[in-house]
Structures are given as structure tokens and as C-alpha cells.
């Protein structure tokens, strides 16, 4: 999404002038300059509610003389400002030329302290057992604007502490400050308006529409945007203090949307996945299903060994046997759209060194128009970019099957795919020698002559090309199981052996100079230049490919086609 051309206007905040886009929300505008106006209910991606009253500031406009319509100038040469009689909420204030704002006056300070005190009088103050502690706006602003002591000696309101709102969200009602962010999210973004308030005043309670649950696939975003610890993830609840967790930027592999994420881990164990803001891809949302993907990491079925003929062995032995098979000719490949661009690039080199047909498996998903597309893989476009495929994968692998049946293919190098699940019978699989690179044991690893361990997206670094042809990086969040190596190293060393060269270190950084030389649309790009928001490449060479994706949050195939046609 390109930034729309906007007119800049000058506003004055606490005596200093700032150039800001006309009409921009005051809170957002000041954030551009690193100035924070404290707020709870305001969220840049949702409609304005104006109910928390934390962002009260004093606003004014230059006064004009009624007769001459000229600005009134004070004796000191400054414009006379007509200040509003009451403080105004910044979240409903849009920047217009000449807007004057005061954020540091006794009135504003008193407003913030007052609202802060009100929010805390019926708040349970159970931070020691609250999951939000450490990333809680109530804690942060209480530090800045709280009294440090309480004037409230009455009994606090008592509300339910563990209400099930849906399969994945639990409500602690006492902590709720009734900001309505979750209500607005469900109505406006998830288009599933199940949340609302009942009761009145301080006894108001968040609840679901009778007979309904908060069970849409975006329900956990309400937990992310809850400024306090009211909405908690049933999965993450009471598992880990957030300040012990390390966030690592990643990409959701659920579909070709490529939602930007953060993977939070401690001591090699992943505790949660949250969305990372990218306004060109997923704004600040992600699906619930994408947040569960880390659960595949810890599994008794993980392949954490190299093996030849079902016997665990040293990596060298397995790689040597694999290279031997590949050099023996009659090779076929099954690539993976789950692999990173770098891994696909190396697989492409391998195909050149030991030629054979390459097949990809079609993984059709059901798009929801938001952050899940019809393509259930993260990197199909990477396969086009690296030249592994020239057309979309078909529903079946009949061509490959025939070549196996006819004996044209004797060695099959399979990356991450389970051919047994695609209808390849035991007998058929026994006709070929299989080299399997995968993360979990299955029929393929059982049949394979050579098993090479693979890693999940959380255990390695690389990049994916999403449906917008945006190349996005992900980083290793946790180490892989002992006995494994990153796919990129396995592929690199195998390639070196097939080519008869000595193997160097293989990492995305090390491979990118090669990638940018070989792949024309990436000419001049570097690993670092991808940044954290990704880069969109010129995909006109593939404009004719009928990719299956429909419209999603920030992607419109019709618009892309129109641009290409134009």
C-alpha cells in the first residue's frame, strides 16, 4: 500500500510547531514525533470510541477578529488562541492548520491523574498473578499518572474472574476497563459482532450474544488489543511472565498471506505467537489457527536424526549416501512451498547438478477474505521465482506417478511432502529409492533410504514470498532439536557433495549474493535490505499465472491484474 499524498499542516503542541498530515488523528500524528498521549480505548485500526477519557488535552484555534476576519495578534507578536472551555479528547481531534494543543498543563495533568484514579478504584490490582503484567497500559500509565496511594477505602466491585467467552478466550471481568476495543474489533474487523456490554455503570460486564461464543478464527486478537489483563488467551494463561519471553520476528506459514508475527520463547521453548504490525499485509492482526502452529515443534514424532536404511547414522554418512543416489541418475524431485526462498534456491541448484523433473503438491486452503488465503502454503511464489515450477501445482501427481511406475524415476528426493497421503501406494513407494527431508516421521520417512532432518519455521531463518510477491524475512526463534541442522545447511552440503566441491557455511546471508545475481527481479537486493516489512518484487513475468487467491485484508488480485494490464 503506497502512502497517499497528503497535505501537511502545521500544528502547535506545547509551544512547538509540527508538520503533520492534514486530517490525521492527533494521537497518531504526535506518535510520528515520538510524543505519546496516553490512551486506552483508542486504537488506530478501529473506530473511535472516546470512552476512556485518558487522552484529554487542551485544544484551541487561532482567534479571528469578527469584523476584519484577520487573526488576532497578541502584543508579543503571537497569534491569540481561543482555548476550548473544557479539555477535549485527542482521539476525536483531527489535525487542522493552526490547531494548538497543550499536553503539559495542570488541567491536563489533573485529568490524567483523575482518570487513572477512577480506573483503579474498582480494579483488582492483582498484577502479581496477571498475565498482562509487564505489557499492561494500566501499569504503565499508573506509573506515570498514578497517585502512588489510594484514596479509595470502600469495598471494590466483585465480578467473575474466569468467564469462558469462547474456546480460546477467557475473561477476567474485574480487570476490564470497558474500553470496548474488543467489541469494536469483533464488529469491524472480524465481522462477527458477538461481543457487547450488559448491565450499567460500574457494574457493566462484557459478554457474548446469547447462545453465541467468541469462536471466530480471529478471537485472540481481542486478547492482543486488550489494554489490560481482562481478556486472556486460555492457552497462554498463567504459563509464563512476559518479561522472560524473547520476541523474534517471524512469518505465519498458514497461507500465502504471510502475516507478520512475533514468536515469543524462553529457553528454547515457544510460549505464544502474536501478530507483528505490517500495514501492507496484516495490519496488526493474525488468525487464531496461525498462533497454534508452534505446537508442532515439540513432538515425539520429530525427526532429530540422520538415517540410512532406517538406521540412524552420522550426518556425513547420510549425506554421502544421498549424494550417491542423486548422482546415479533417474532422479525426480518433490519440492515444497513450505521451504524458504533460500532453500528452494538451493534445491534449484541441486536440480541443475542432478537433473530430473520437479513436482510440487497443491495445498488448497479456504480463504476467509482476511488473513487466510486459498493457498495454504507460505511460499509457492518462491518456487516460481527460483524456477522450480513454471505452472501451478496440479491436484494430483499423476505425471510423477507414471514416471515412477514406468521406472523412469528411480530416486525420489522429497522435501517435506507426504506422498503416501497423496495416494502413492506402498508398492509404488517401494519401487523408488526415497531421500526424505522432513520434520516429522511419517510413511515417507519409513520408506526412505535416506532420512535428512528438517526444521520448522521457528527453528531457522529465511524468507518467504507472499501472495503480493512481497519477500519477507523470518528469523530463528528457538534452536532445533539436538541432532538436526537447518534445511539450508543440509541442502547446501548435499549440493556440494553432488557437485564434488567442499561445503562452506550455508546461511541466508551467505546465499543472498548468489540469489540476487541469478534471480532477475531480485537483482541488487540484499538479505538486509528486506527489512522487517519485506520488499515487493516486480512479478510481471508471472502475470499470466492464475493464482488461486481471492481478496484478503490488504490484497486485491483484481487490483494487481488491473495494474499489470495498465
Amino acid at each position: 500500500m503506497s502512502a497517499p499524498a497528503t497535505n501537511l499542516v502545521t500544528i502547535n503542541v506545547d509551544g512547538r510547531d509540527y508538520q503533520v498530515p492534514a486530517g490525521m488523528n492527533l494521537i497518531d500524528a504526535l506518535e510520528l514525533f515520538g510524543l505519546e498521549i496516553p490512551h486506552y480505548c483508542y486504537h488506530p485500526k478501529l473506530t473511535v470510541a472516546g470512552n476512556c477519557r485518558m487522552c484529554l488535552v487542551e485544544t484551541g484555534m487561532p482567534m479571528r477578529d469578527r469584523t476584519t476576519n484577520q487573526f488576532i495578534i497578541e502584543p508579543d507578536g503571537r497569534m491569540k488562541i481561543g482555548w476550548g472551555p473544557k479539555p477535549a479528547v485527542a482521539c476525536t481531534t483531527n489535525c487542522t492548520a493552526g490547531l494548538h494543543v497543550r499536553t503539559n498543563t495542570p488541567v491536563v495533568k489533573d485529568c490524567r491523574e483523575g482518570v487513572m484514579e477512577f480506573l483503579l478504584v474498582n480494579h483488582p490490582l492483582d498484577c502479581p498473578i496477571c498475565d498482562q503484567a509487564g505489557e499492561c497500559k494500566l501499569q504503565e500509565f499508573a506509573t506515570d499518572y498514578g497517585r502512588g496511594y489510594s484514596r479509595f477505602i470502600e469495598e471494590k466491585n466483585v465480578k467473575p474472574k474466569r468467564t469462558r467467552l469462547g474456546p480460546r478466550v477467557t475473561l477476567d471481568d474485574e480487570r476490564c476497563i470497558l474500553c470496548s476495543r474488543c467489541v469494536r474489533f469483533c464488529a469491524e474487523i472480524a465481522k462477527d459482532p458477538v461481543l457487547g456490554f450488559i448491565e450499567r455503570g460500574s457494574y457493566s460486564t462484557l459478554t457474548c450474544y446469547p447462545g453465541r461464543e467468541l469462536d471466530n478464527n480471529y478471537s485472540l486478537n481481542t486478547v492482543d488489543i486488550c489494554p489490560v489483563g481482562a481478556l486472556t488467551s486460555t492457552d497462554f494463561r498463567f504459563k509464563m511472565r512476559v518479561w522472560f519471553l524473547k520476541p523474534v520476528p517471524s512469518i505465519c506459514t498458514e497461507s500465502s498471506v504471510g502475516a507478520n508475527t512475533e514468536v515469543w520463547s524462553r529457553e528454547g521453548k515457544i510460549y505464544r505467537i502474536t501478530p507483528r504490525e505490517n500495514n501492507a499485509v496484516n495490519d496488526c492482526w493474525m488468525s487464531d489457527s496461525g498462533r497454534e502452529l508452534y505446537k508442532q515443534v515439540e513432538s515425539p514424532l520429530r525427526i532429530d536424526y540422520f538415517a540410512v536404511n532406517n538406521g540412524k547414522c552420522a550426518p556425513d554418512q547420510a549425506l554421502a549416501r544421498a549424494a550417491e543416489l542423486l548422482k546415479g541418475g533417474g532422479v525426480g524431485y518433490v519440492g515444497s512451498a513450505q521451504s524458504s526462498l533460500e532453500e528452494q534456491f538451493l534445491l534449484g541448484q541441486l536440480v541443475k547438478a542432478a537433473p530430473g523433473p520437479v513436482a510440487f503438491v497443491k495445498h488448497a486452503g479456504k480463504g476467509d477474505g482476511l488473513l487466510i488465503s486459498n493457498d495454504a502454503t507460505p511460499n509457492l511464489r518462491g518456487a516460481f521465482l527460483t524456477g522450480l515450477v513454471r505452472e501451478l501445482p496440479k491436484a494430483n501427481l499423476d505425471e510423477l506417478r507414471q514416471k515412477v511406475e514406468s521406472g523412469a524415476i528411480q530416486t525420489l528426493f522429497v522435501v517435506h511432502e507426504d506422498l503416501a497421503a497423496l495416494g502413492f501406494s506402498d508398492a509404488l513407494l517401494r519401487r523408488v529409492k526415497i531421500i526424505y527431508l522432513g520434520t516429522h516421521t511419517n510413511l515417507m520417512s519409513e520408506h526412505a533410504q535416506v532420512v535428512l532432518p528438517g526444521l520448522t519455521v521457528f527453528e531457522k531463518s529465511g524468507s518467504f514470498v507472499n501472495q503480493q510477491w512481497r519477500v519477507q524475512r523470518f528469523f530463528q526463534a528457538v534452536p532445533g532439536p539436538a541432532g538436526t541442522a537447518p534445511d539450508i545447511q543440509v541442502l547446501g552440503q548435499l549440493l556440494a557433495r553432488v557437485q564434488g566441491e567442499s561445503a562452506g557455511g550455508f546461511s541466508p546471508e551467505a546465499i543472498w549474493p548468489q540469489i540476487s545475481t541469478v534471480i532477475a527481479p531480485l537483482a541488487g537486493w540484499t538479505w538486509e535490505s528486506l527489512g522487517l516489512q519485506g520488499r515487493v518484487l516486480d512479478a510481471s513475468s508471472w502475470a499470466h499465472v492464475p493464482f488461486p487467491e481471492g481478496k484478503s485484508l490488504r490484497f486485491d488480485p483484481a487490483a494487481v491484474t488491473a495494474v499489470k494490464a495498465g
Binding site: 476512556c52 477512577f118 479509595f152 466491585n157 456490554f197 455503570g201
Partner: protein
Amino acid sequence: MPVQERRIIYRHIDEPGYTIDLACYQRHGGYEVLRKALQRKPEELVQEVKDSALRGRGGAGFPTGMKWGFLDRKSGKPVYLICNADESEPGTYKDRQIIYKDPHQLIEGVVISSFAIQAKQAFIYIRGEMFEGFHILEKAIEEARAANFLGDNILGSGYSVDVVVHRGAGCYICGEETGMIESLEGKRAYPRIKPPYFPAVLGLYNCPTIVNNVETLCQVKHVIDMGGKEFVKIGVPGDSGTHIWGISGHVAKPGYYEIESGKATVRDLVYDLAGGPAAGRTIKAIIPGGVSMKILRMGEKFKVKLPDGSAGEWGVLDIPLDSGSFMQCGTSLGTGGMIVMDDTTDMVEALANLNAFYAHETCGQCTPCREGSLWLKKVTHRVCNGGGRLEDIDLVKNIADQIAGRTICAHGEAAAWPCQSNVPKFRDEWEEKIRAQMQAREHGELAARKGLRLV
């Protein structure tokens, strides 16, 4: 000479033989003003209302003509009129009389006003508790529709408007105009945030909407009847027409009195018309109009500017009954529902009663009003129940200060003003009450330490 009522709105109310049916209303000249109004241009009628300087009678006293002038005509969206019949301000019962005893006057006012602002549809949002009033209005509307005073092509004028009566479900905040609009749309009555939701621009269904009080719309009928320039001669400059005072509390003859604006004083109303306090009692305080307005304590003196421009001084009883005069004394006449309290009243108890009301009625949307009003209730009730501390006096005032002016709608002020006025004005009573409690507690503790039990 004792002050006289001047009944315009209530002219026929309580008149022997006057009934609520259409025939009776027409015998008394009913719908004749509508008939004439329909022959004029709508803009002329709006101008008449502007000329009349009529102020809204819902409590805020905003000039009606000016409000109509804010209507967004450029959008091309339909215009709606909502009659606010959610009369729920404690102490106020003036609109109820019109609805129950002269419903056709209201309907005529609604149709005239609808024609003036060219409304496509009119609504009467009636307080849920006025169940009988709802049926009276429904029946009256049926009669009026049958006689073509509303509905399609009213009296052959080519103008069509229908009136729908909608019952609230018993919620004070529905009387706030944007809360009422939300409620009418079928949502929780959370008042809307202004800007951008000014009803005249983004009102009902985001269309330009005018919300007027029952009495205001009846006043409009009389404005159109006599002409704005004649109407403005009634009352005093800045506040034309009559005010209906509903007086309650410690007076001999509580009830409603329609008085020409500014032509009588509080003394005239309380002593002459309402008969003053019971024998042997003296008046301690009055709340001018609806409990949300700031209280006045007998003995207070106000430095004011008299109508002739000279400086003067008024006691509470000297205040003339018009909006400007009350404003000079730091309060407002509000809805005209005056509450009189005599010397038997415990002012802390009185405030605790009001605080309970506001804590119950706050919608809970915005923080200061939601948390502040309940806190105020809890503190004042503790003080009433013997747990007072001297610091509670300033605490109550300070909590109220943290609410007023910082909320989405005026409920914040309504909850804060009684505290902000009661506490400083009756500080001596607060201190006396609390010191007695402290003494009693100390006494109790000493006795307990000695192993005694107080009986």
C-alpha cells in the same frame, strides 16, 4: 399583589370537562394552528421560531430556532424529528401533564415542527414508566391520523409525516439526546461523542435530526399561533414565553404552576403559589430545576446585574424565575422541577440519595462518570452510615471535580454539580455530622476496650 399564573401550555389542563379526545381538542380550537401553518412556507415558520427567542425546555435551555438552523440541508438525507418525552429528571413532571391530559396539543406541536423542518418522520420517545401515557398518545395519534392531521398529504397540503411512539425501557440516560438516538436505533443508550455526532448533522441513522422536549414542541405551536415577534414579548429578553414550574418537597401546596418567564421570583413561587413551608418550619435550601442543578442555600447572597444594568444583590428568594437570573446566581433553572427542603432535612442524606440515583443511572460508557458516580455514592453512604471521616468532605468535592467537564455527555455534570454545590455550601453540616460520628466511634472503642458493650 400576589403573583398570578399565566397559563398558555396548560391553558386547558385540569379545566372541568376538558378531555383528551380529538373532538374536545378541536372544540377548543385544536389543529387550527396546524391548518394555518401548512399554508405557509417552512422557512417562514423556522424564522418565527428564531424570532420568538424560544429556549428549549428540556433542561439545557438551548435556543430552539438556533438548533433548527444547524440542520444539515446539503447532505440530501432525510430529516427526522424526535420528541423527547423521556422525562426522568427527578423532581420534574411537567411533560407528563401534557401527555396525560392534553396529548393532541403535543401532536399538533410535533406536526407543525415537522413541517417547519421538513421532517420525513417524527418520533415520540416516551419514558417506559409512562405506560398509560403511551396508550393515550397512541390513541390520540390514531384519531389525528383518521382526521388527516398527520399521515399522508396532511389536510391537502402535499406534506406527509407520520409519528411513531417509542417506549424507553426505564433508563435516565435515554433522555440524553444522542443516547436517545442510539436507543431508538435499537442499541444501548450510550451517548455519542460530539464532535462528530451532532444530531443536526449525524443524528438518527446518521441523518440530520432534531431532538426537542415535549414542552418545547408545544411552545412552538403557540409561537406559530401568535407569531415570533408577539411571543418574544412574553417574559423577559433572552427568555421568552412561560415556564412550567413543578414544585415539590417541603411546601404546603406542591404542584405545577405556569408562570411568565422572569415575572415572578422564587419567593412568589414558593410562598405565594406553593404556600411556603409547613408551620414552624423554615426553608433551608432549594434546588431550582431538576436535581442535577446546583443547590441554593437560604441566606446566600448573589452579586448580580439588574435588568436596568445597575449592580444589585439578590437573596435566594429574590431570584426572578428566568434562565438568565438563575445563571447569574451560579445555577440554572433546568427543567423547572423545583425541590424545596426545610430545616428538618439532613443535607448529607439528601446528597447520598442523589448520588445513589446517578450511580444507578450512569450508562458506564466513559470512565469518570462510571467510576466517579459509584464512588461518590459509596462515600456519601458510608458517611450516612456512621463511617464518616473529615477528609471525606474534600474527597467528595474532589471526585466531583474530576468528573465534571471530562465526560462524553452531560450526565457527568449532572452527577457532579449536586456534590460540587452541596459540599461547600453545607460544609458546616458535614463537619458536624462527621465529628459526632467520630466521637461515637471513639466512645464505642473505649467502651469495647473496657469490656463494656454499648446498648
